[in-house]
Symmetry: C2
Subunit: 375 residues, 2 copies
C-alpha cells in the first residue's frame, strides 16, 4: 500500500471509481506530480490506456483513462450443482471463451478440482486468449467462511468442509485464486457492471433458492463468519408455514423460492419441477403461475423491506431466474418496501432488475479474480 501509488490508481480506474487525472488525485489524495508520473508509468507499462475525453465545461476537457483490456486475462469459474462453467475474460469484462464441464458436488472434491484445473488449462491454450491469465475466481453454491477458505456445513457441497479451496486450487493451477459464494459474486458483478459508483448496494437472487449479497462502503459485507445476507431462511409468521429445505418452517424460501412455487404449481396439477418450469408456465400465460409469482413477490417484498430497513442500500437489484418475470416480480417488492420502510430510506432508493445474462455469475468470479491481480 505504501509502496504503490500506481496500484491504487490502477484499482480505482479498474473499478470505475475514477476516470480522469483529477478524479485520481481527489480519490487517492496524491499530489499532481505523483499522479502524473504514476499514470504515465501505468500507460507505458500497458496497464492503462487513454480513453475518450470527458465533455468540457468551458475549459480543457479531461482526459479519460481505461484499463487496458488486454493487459491480462482472468478466468471466472461458476460451480453449479450439476455443471461447472469456466469463462475467459479480458479486463473489460468481455467474455473471450468458455469451457463447460459436468460435475457432482457430492463426489470427491478432488475430482471437481481436476475438472476446474482442466478447464483453466484449456482456456490457457485457447485461440481467443488475448493475454496471459493472471488469476482465477471461483463461485461456489454454498456459504463460505472467507477467512478459512472453507465451505460451511451443512450445504450441497458434502465432503468439502475440511478443504481450503483457495489454497487447494491455487496449488494446482499455480495462479492466485479467490473464492466466494455465488450470490455475493452476482452482487459484485451487477455492481461493477451497472452501478460502479454505488457504494451501498444490495442484490437479491430469487431462483430455485433465495439469497442476497450486500455491499457496504463499496465492499462486500460478508459478516463475521461469511453468512451475511442470508434472507432466504428468515421466517415469516404466515399461515400455513410450509416446511423448508433447511428443516425449519415458514422460511422465505419455503414461500417464495422457485422450488416452493414449483411445489405449489404441482399441487395444482401442473408439471413443474423447478424455477425454470415456473417461468415457462408464466411465459405461457398460465394465470396460476402469475398468481404464484405475485404471492412470491410479496413474500420476497417483506424480507426486502426488512433488508432496506436494516441496511439502507442506495440501489437494490433483483436477479435470478424468477426475476425474468420483470414487473410481475418487482411489483410486490416495491409495494412492500414503500409500504413498510421509512420515506427517508426509500426516497432515493432505486429498485431495479439485474442484467439479463447467464454470465453474471462467472463475471462476478472474474471480478474477484481481477481484484487479485498484483500490479
Amino acid at each position: 500500500m505504501r509502496k504503490d501509488a500506481g496500484s491504487a490508481i490502477y484499482q480505482l480506474v479498474r473499478r470505475g471509481q475514477a476516470e480522469t487525472q483529477r478524479d485520481i488525485e481527489a480519490e487517492t489524495g496524491l499530489s499532481r506530480g505523483t499522479a502524473t508520473q504514476r499514470i504515465s508509468e501505468l500507460i507505458a507499462a500497458g496497464l492503462l490506456i487513454e480513453g475518450p475525453t470527458r465533455a468540457s465545461g468551458g475549459g480543457r476537457p479531461a482526459r479519460g483513462f481505461l484499463v487496458n483490456p488486454h493487459y491480462r486475462n482472468v478466468v471466472g469459474v461458476d460451480l453449479g450443482e450439476s455443471q461447472g462453467r469456466a469463462c475467459l475474460f479480458d479486463l473489460s469484462g468481455a467474455k473471450l471463451d468458455q469451457q463447460v464441464f459436468a460435475l457432482d458436488l457430492r463426489a470427491d472434491p478432488g475430482v471437481t478440482l481436476d475438472r476446474v484445473e482442466d478447464a483453466v488449462a484449456m482456456l490457457d491454450v485457447s485461440a481467443m486468449r488475448s493475454a496471459p491469465i493472471a488469476a482465477v475466481g471461483l463461485s461456489v453454491p454454498a456459504p463460505l467462511d472467507v477467512a478459512s477458505g472453507r465451505v460451511a456445513m451443512p450445504s450441497v457441497m458434502y465432503g468439502w468442509e475440511n478443504l481450503d479451496i483457495r489454497q487447494a486450487l491455487g496449488a494446482r493451477i499455480g495462479l492466485p485464486v479467490a473464492v466466494d459464494n455465488d450470490v455475493n459474486l452476482l452482487c459484485l458483478a451487477e455492481q461493477r457492471l451497472n452501478w460502479p459508483n454505488c457504494r451501498n448496494f444490495a442484490f437479491i437472487k430469487i431462483g430455485t433458492g433465495i439469497g442476497c449479497g450486500i455491499m457496504v462502503g463499496g465492499r462486500l459485507m460478508r459478516g463475521a463468519s461469511g453468512t451475511a445476507g442470508d434472507l432466504g431462511h428468515i421466517q415469516h409468521g404466515l399461515q400455513p408455514a410450509p416446511l423448508c429445505r433447511c428443516g425449519k418452517e415458514g422460511c422465505t424460501e419455503a414461500h417464495a423460492a422457485g422450488w416452493a412455487l414449483a411445489r405449489d404449481l404441482r399441487g395444482l396439477g401442473f408439471d413443474c419441477q423447478d424455477a425454470r418450469d415456473v417461468m415457462a408456465l408464466w411465459l405461457r400465460g398460465e394465470p396460476e403461475a402469475l398468481a404464484a409469482l405475485n404471492r412470491g413477490s410479496r413474500v420476497l417484498g417483506k424480507v426486502a423491506a426488512d433488508l432496506v430497513a436494516m441496511v439502507n442500500p442506495q440501489v437494490l437489484v433483483i436477479g435470478g431466474q424468477l426475476a425474468r418475470a420483470g414487473e410481475a416480480m418487482l411489483a410486490g417488492v416495491r409495494e412492500l418496501i414503500y409500504q413498510r420502510c421509512l420515506p427517508l430510506a426509500t426516497q432515493q432508493l432505486v429498485i431495479a432488475l439485474a442484467a439479463e445474462t447467464d454470465d453474471l455469475g462467472v463475471l462476478g468470479a472474474a471480478c474477484l479474480a481481477m481484484d487479485e491481480i498484483e500490479v
Copy 2:
C-alpha cells in the same frame, strides 16, 4: 493520510487496535524505522504514553502504548427529548465534569444550540478540565443524514430539518463538531469500550423506543441516507397488530418497546407511563411486568434474528432501559436467534448486555469527537 504516519499510529492506539510497536508495524504496514521514529515523536509530543508491557512468551516483552488521557479533552453532548447533558471527558474516556440543561426539541433550534454553547463554555472553564477541549460530539434523538448534517423528517426534532447541525454548532463554538444519532453513538461507545477488537458489531437499544446501530469492518454502517439499523419499525405478522407511534401497525416497537409495554400494563390497571415505570414494576416483582418483558423479549428476538441473519455480526449487545432486566430480556432474544439462524452465524456469536451506565450516550458522542481530533 499520506502525510501522517503518526496520525495513523495514534488512531490505531486510540481505538485499541494496536498496543505494541509490532502491532503498529503490522497494522499500518510501516517499516520498523518509521514506526520507531513516529512513536517516539508521538511520545515526545505528549500524545502517547508508555503503558504496561505485554506478557512475554519467551522473549523480550513488548512495550505497550496508551493514549495520553490528558493530551486533550473532548465534550460529548446528548440531547434527550426534555433534557440535555454535556460531559467533559479525557481521552481515556474518563468523565471529568458535566452540565445538565433543560431543553425543548420542538422549540427553535437556536435556543437549544444556545444551551449547548453555554454548556460547552461552562465545561471549558471547569476546574476539572485537564487539557484544552479539542472537539465536541453531539448525539441527537433522530435519524440523521450525516452527509448533509441534517435530521430527517418526520422526527421529534420539529423545525430542525433545514439546519446543518454540524456546521451551525461548529460556527458557534469554534471547535470541530461531529453529529450522529443516539443509537449509533451508543453502539460506538459500547464497541470502543468493551469490544475494541470486534469489527462486526451490532447494538440494539430497547428503551422507550427501539433502535439499532451496526458496525461493519470497524465502522458505523449508516446506509445510503443514514437510516440503517431501523428495526424498530420492521413489521410483524402477529395478531393483534397494535398501532405504532409511526402510524403503521404491528411494528416491533408497537409490540416490544417501553412505551408499548407500558401501554399494556396500563391496560391491566397499573400506573405505568414509560420504560422506567415498566422496570420499576419488574423490580417490584410484578408478574405481569415480567410477562410483558418476556413477550417483548421474544418479539425483539425476531428482529434480532433477522439482524443476525442479514448482517452476521460477531457480537450483539442489547442495551437501553429494558435491558436492565438482564436475562429476562436476553432469554427471548437468545431463544429466537438460536432457533432461527444458521449455526454458522450463531456458533461464534456473542450476545451480551450493555455496560450499565447512563453515560454511554455522551461517551459515544465523545468517541465521535475524539475521531475529529487532528494530530
